[in-house]
């Protein structure tokens, strides 16, 4: 199979994730879209690793997974805390930084 198809899939996943971050209000969904973008990047890494015949890209994708795992812990903690205090998981309600 043509290796470019993996890259098309990666680009499509990344775009879906980016659009999701921008258009969705629910913080959990936004979070899921961020994960989607990270995994799209991972897919691209692995594809290039295969293309170049070395393991650099696969190592990089492991790093990404580790960082994403940490991020999930911190991010979900923040979302839960906000939900507890405001009874809402909408990102538009949490616009306090402006004021």
């Amino acid at each position: 199979m043509d290796i470019a198809n993996y890259l098309y899939l990666s680009a499509a996943l990344f775009t879906i994730g980016a659009v999701g971050v921008i258009v969705r209000r629910n913080a959990i969904v936004v979070f899921m879209c961020v994960e989607l973008m990270l995994n799209a990047a991972n897919l691209a890494f692995v594809t290039f690793s295969r293309l170049n015949g070395n393991l650099d890209g696969q190592v990089a994708s492991f790093f990404t997974m580790v960082v994403a795992a940490c991020e999930v812990v911190v991010g979900l903690a923040i979302i839960v805390t906000i939900f507890r205090s405001r009874r809402s998981a909408s990102v538009d309600d949490a616009s306090l930084l402006k004021r």
């Binding site: 921008i22 258009v23 936004v30 990102v91 616009s95 306090l96 930084l97 402006k98």
Partner: protein, 629 residues
């Protein structure tokens, strides 16, 4: 030259006394005036001692110096704080301390009811110290210190009653007019330093023959500007009339006898500059001739007795300046006239003060009349001064003023006729206005209202007047018998080489001519002012109107100097406000507007931040793609 250790006390004593009186404050109220008078008298004693010591020496040993401190030592500029007492300075030392002491005595009584009498005497002592520093300095820079010191004392004393705004303004006016002259003096010092590398009198004198004539003319012109400022000469004369706002003893001491003659001293002291530059000499005689007529004309129209005398002072100093411009022999006659003028003008000012004292501070001569009966001593002493200024023999002015007129005629050619004619005309007008003062004040019908009780002044006031009157009678004869003063000043002004030059007129002719015009002038005044109204008439000729307004000198200054100056500052203020402030405010406004616009991006919505991030990333990728394409 010998060294001597007493000179510094001449300056230190009055300076110390002034500082003491000012610092002690009210504690010194009871005895401040006595201390100041005592100090002034002791400076006179030192001066007299130095004079006799100087007379007992001969030739080059007469001039003495005292090195006080090494004042400035920067690169090639070395100025020692040294004092120089020679034949010229001793004349001034005796005049300043002598007349100064008499006026201290007079002021004890004159200022008796003033609650700030102690402060007044402190300023008087400050003036004595500064004036002595001025005449004892051995370099232009030290002279400059004294020059500024007397300006300060003059300012403080003119504005002594500064609770009246008009008097405070008069003091400021005097200070500003003097400042213009001071610029001239500092420029002269700067040019002298660049030319000669030194500012001491001896150094400049030694260098003068080798300097370029342009430099000498520039120094001479700047010194003349300085002299014009301090001595109220054309075109800086306008402050002297207003300076009469000060207490009358101040007018007598500072604005008649001593400080205003500092210009004559400066030119005489710098004779080596003026001898070497005929252009500078010409400027000096022009200024002198204009001022002597200018002052005399103003004097004819003033109803304020002190302002009439001030105009007369201006005119008489014009004579002295004229004389200093007439070459070596002129310097000696200028100093001769300066000394005799010091006596008779100070005496007349004290007389005017005595009249004001008896007439409840009334200064308008049209409200006097017939006062000779009530104030006989004042009238007699004033009369002696009057005869002296007219130049009636054997009074002092006869010896000094006729010499100046004679020297002016002998200047030769058209110049001689013009200068001599101006001096002679000035003498006639002097006779006219001085007779007017005497007739209006002491003779004729009484024009004061019934509230006034004219009375003779107390002993402490008339005694100094009497001593000055004796001086008005005798000083001219004593100083000029056997050309005493001319020979005395010979080493300074180098006058000998012109004696016996060509004479346009014999001394006797000049004296008779001068006497003739004086009689005409005096007679005209007697006829015109035998009877006057107690109010100044208003239907007057335009000449009288001009003379009453000081020949429009204030209007001239206002139109030519003040208004354009104000216009300039207005323009500068507007430029500052609109252009410079505008630019600064514009920068602030621009930044503010840009940041307001930029702030609207910060709306707090995570999604819009994310969008901006995506757009930014897209832009970045697009840029990289385009560049690498």
């Amino acid at each position: 030259m010998k060294a001597n250790n007493y000179l510094v006390y001449l300056i230190a004593l009055p300076l110390f006394s002034a500082a003491l009186l000012l610092l002690l404050g009210r504690i010194a109220d009871k005895w401040g005036h006595l201390l100041a008078t005592l100090v002034s008298a002791s400076t006179f004693a030192i001066g007299a001692y130095e004079f006799f010591a100087m007379r007992s020496r001969s030739g080059v040993d007469r001039a003495i110096t005292q090195h006080v401190i090494q004042w400035i030592s920067v690169g090639t500029l070395k100025v020692d704080g040294a004092l120089l007492l020679d034949q010229l300075s001793i004349c001034f030392v005796l005049l300043i301390t002598g007349v100064g002491t008499l006026i201290h005595i007079y002021s004890i009584s004159y200022m008796e009811h003033d609650e700030n009498r102690r402060r007044f005497f402190a300023y008087l002592n400050l003036f004595i110290a500064a004036m002595l520093l001025l005449v004892l300095a051995d370099s232009y820079l030290s002279l400059y210190v004294g020059w500024e010191g007397v300006g300060l004392a003059s300012y403080l004393l003119i504005g002594f009653w500064n609770q009246r705004p008009a008097y405070a303004t008069a003091a400021k006016k005097a200070f500003v007019a003097n400042r213009v002259g001071d610029v001239g003096l500092s420029l002269a010092i700067i040019i002298a330093f660049t030319q000669f590398g030194t500012v001491s009198f001896a150094g400049v004198k030694a260098g003068a023959p080798h300097a370029s004539s342009a430099a000498l003319t520039a120094i001479g012109a700047m010194l003349l500007l300085a002299a014009a400022g301090k001595s109220a000469q054309f075109p800086l004369q306008s402050w002297l009339g207003d300076a009469m706002a000060g207490p009358t003893p101040v007018s007598a001491l500072i604005h008649a006898a001593t400080m205003v003659t500092a210009g004559v001293y400066l030119i005489t002291r710098s004779n080596f500059i003026f001898d070497a530059s005929s252009t500078a000499r010409l400027l000096v005689v022009i200024v002198g001739a204009i001022t002597l007529l200018f002052g005399a004309i103003i004097g004819t129209a003033k109803d304020d007795i002190k302002k009439a005398l001030a105009a007369s002072t201006m005119s008489q100093i014009g004579y002295m300046i004229l004389a200093t411009g007439l070459g070596p022999i002129g310097y000696a006659f200028a100093i001769l006239h300066l000394l005799t003028h010091g006596f008779f003008k100070a005496g007349m000012f004290l007389g005017a003060g005595s009249v004001m004292h008896g007439m409840d501070d009334e200064v308008n001569m049209r409200r006097y009349g017939g006062l000779a009966k009530f104030m006989p001593i004042t009238a007699i002493t004033f009369g002696f001064g009057y005869l002296a200024i007219l130049g009636i023999p054997p009074f002092a002015g006869f010896y000094s003023k006729d010499k100046i007129i004679e020297t002016a005629f002998n200047a030769g050619g058209n110049k001689g006729w013009i200068l001599g004619g101006a001096a002679l005309l000035g003498a006639a007008i002097t006779a006219f206005y001085m007779t007017r003062v005497v007739v209006l004040t002491f003779i004729g019908a009484k024009r004061w209202d019934s509230m006034a009780h004219p009375h003779e002044s107390p002993l402490l006031m008339w005694l100094p007047m009497a001593i000055l009157a004796i001086g008005s009678v005798t000083s001219g004869f004593l100083l000029s018998s056997g050309s005493a003063l001319v020979h005395w000043l010979q080493p300074i002004v180098n006058a000998g080489n012109v004696e016996g030059g060509k004479e346009l007129m014999k001394p006797l002719t000049v004296s008779l001519l001068a006497l003739g015009v004086v009689v005409i002038g005096a007679g005209a005044a007697i006829i015109k002012y035998r009877t006057v109204a107690s109010e100044a008439p208003s239907n007057i000729s335009i000449f009288t109107k001009a003379a009453r307004k000081d020949l429009y000198q204030d209007s001239f200054n206002e139109a030519v100097l003040m208004r354009p100056g104000q216009g300039l500052t207005d323009t500068l203020v507007k430029t500052d406000h609109n252009l410079i402030d505008g630019a600064v405010r514009g920068v602030g406004w621009t930044l503010n507007t840009i940041s307001s616009a930029a702030r609207s991006i910060q709306n707090g919505y995570v999604r819009s931040y994310a969008l901006i991030m995506v757009l930014g990333t897209l832009a970045l990728v697009a840029t990289v793609w385009l560049v690498t394409l």
